[in-house]
Symmetry: C2
Subunit: 367 residues, 2 copies
Amino acid sequence: MDTRLSEVSLPAGLATDDGITLEELALAARNHGMPLEALRHDLTPPGLHYLLTHYDIPALDPVSWRLSVTGLVSTPLELTLDDLRARPARTVRVTMECAGNGRAHLRPRPISQPWLVEAVGTAEWTGVPLRDVLADAGVDDTGVDVVFTGADHGVERGVEQDYQRSLALPDALRDEVLLAYEMNGMPLPPQHGFPLRLVVPGWYGMAHVKWLRAVEIVDEPFTGFQNAVAYRSRQTADEPGEPITHIAPRALLIPPGFPDFQSRHRIVRPGRVELAGRAWSGRAPLASVEISTDDGVTWREATLAADDGHRWAWRRWSATWQAEPGRYTLAVRATDADGNTQPEAEAWNRGGFANNAVHRVPVTCLP
Amino acid sequence: MDTRLSEVSLPAGLATDDGITLEELALAARNHGMPLEALRHDLTPPGLHYLLTHYDIPALDPVSWRLSVTGLVSTPLELTLDDLRARPARTVRVTMECAGNGRAHLRPRPISQPWLVEAVGTAEWTGVPLRDVLADAGVDDTGVDVVFTGADHGVERGVEQDYQRSLALPDALRDEVLLAYEMNGMPLPPQHGFPLRLVVPGWYGMAHVKWLRAVEIVDEPFTGFQNAVAYRSRQTADEPGEPITHIAPRALLIPPGFPDFQSRHRIVRPGRVELAGRAWSGRAPLASVEISTDDGVTWREATLAADDGHRWAWRRWSATWQAEPGRYTLAVRATDADGNTQPEAEAWNRGGFANNAVHRVPVTCLP
């Protein structure tokens, strides 16, 4: 079987030229980013939140669906959706970002979903804290990792699989990790994991397993494809690499003025232009946002909206710009409380992960 | 000003090679198709319906928003959203498709939003029949075209504009043409035209003006950019071309089995495989759907679901396939009651419009 699968499921690759292939385009046509003007919303309206589906969106029947909790537990569980809804619920506002955001700007370009900078969105997720369910199951002292299995099935680089990711137990037991059945107060849409998904605030999207059907406690670090092969930062194909975990800081700018349809180049009129956007970091609380109107030669501090207590969600920032006729490249960057910031140039790795280079927006101010 | 705009807003172009440019990718990352597995739903869930926004999604205040009805009318109107909601409502189920669907398969490739085949979706739109509002305004006998203006503003091939399209009066006065304020029973999402959009069942998407703010009756055929320049079928750049109007027949297949993440190539197991999908035509009622498992060498009739009275929506079709190990190209095509069908090969035009070539899905059946 592997021989045949390997004919249609190729190893990871790097693009030899700048043109996006039809295969990458097929991913871009399915999965979508958040149009940047949607940064105006505190909560991303349904349908504008970014979306990345590895295989197909499964069709699950919420009545027959079950969540199993097994492995190194004293009481294995099999939970219905009603069982989960009957438990004390918690709602967490979370900015979620794809680990591959920014990939299409890398040279050479890793062949995969070709994101520019739009693979982000913010939602309020409601569900049951994972640790409450694990407490009921009774995790054995020998437990090391928690393995989460989705109902989405496919093949990737020759490996047939259900989508699976693990968390180390201390990460899984954090207060804010949820088994979520609602997004913005409504049942999950099919594409966001109906009927249940994992939400791991502060982590890149690959950790938030959708269409969740099984949770298993194991006694050694999980070596499944998505943990050990796919989501690693590597310079060469044969090194083990570093795991992708927490979201690096990023600020994005609502593109000012109006666009050209095709190039998306922005046009403004002379005078005062209000600049605004959002910034976030999954690594430490946000500390500052800086803006440049000369492509990063000089920077000044933007105004950060007051901290509203949503640690895992983006914060609004704003600044004003006195525009005069000419061509400009606006740039914006965020820094968090640990001093993590955004590089001027893309930091390259083979998978194209966690590329948080400064966001640049070319603008023409007409006379 | 034109000189400066022309620096950042280029004429229509054709791609010189197969690689998708970053500008086309920026459109693909914003606008998105419907993942084909969503063909399983009668009504496309919010967020999976295709979306094409020429400029930015405007932020409109539903309280201060007004719809003006002016021009050759006896009583000009200025309507609030509550005025419209107070009128008798009608709901119409509509399959909407982008006129550029299939564009990325053309050679040479017209440079624009690079759709493959996914630019489609079906929704129930609720609103006021346009003709009821026009009856109240009293259209003058000299009226020829109805011009619809959206609140979305941008520049396209050097022309700064609010998005505008017209319909000839007989088309505008058809029963099923709506001023819609709900999509699937909910207020329109921002990206689908909140608070009001035009819905013109049977026509390609460019006719369904979003963020509608003005309706004007004029006494000669409208020559605005989107009618006279953009949405025309042309072989050369300097001919006037034919207007793009009603949706050509198309059938799509829910890709069977499971996919490879990167190539989207499909894998099935030997045995009976249920094939299904949807088919539609805006030109005449659907007559038949045919399926081929040998890339169109031989065809057989698929089973069409009973006509459920939704003239403007897609119909489900199904067929079974006894799969044996090997590699296949499945193909499907629709024919309508006027004999319109789908060509084997793409019919080329400079804008890449109304390309309804047969849908093909390569599949490997493993041993």
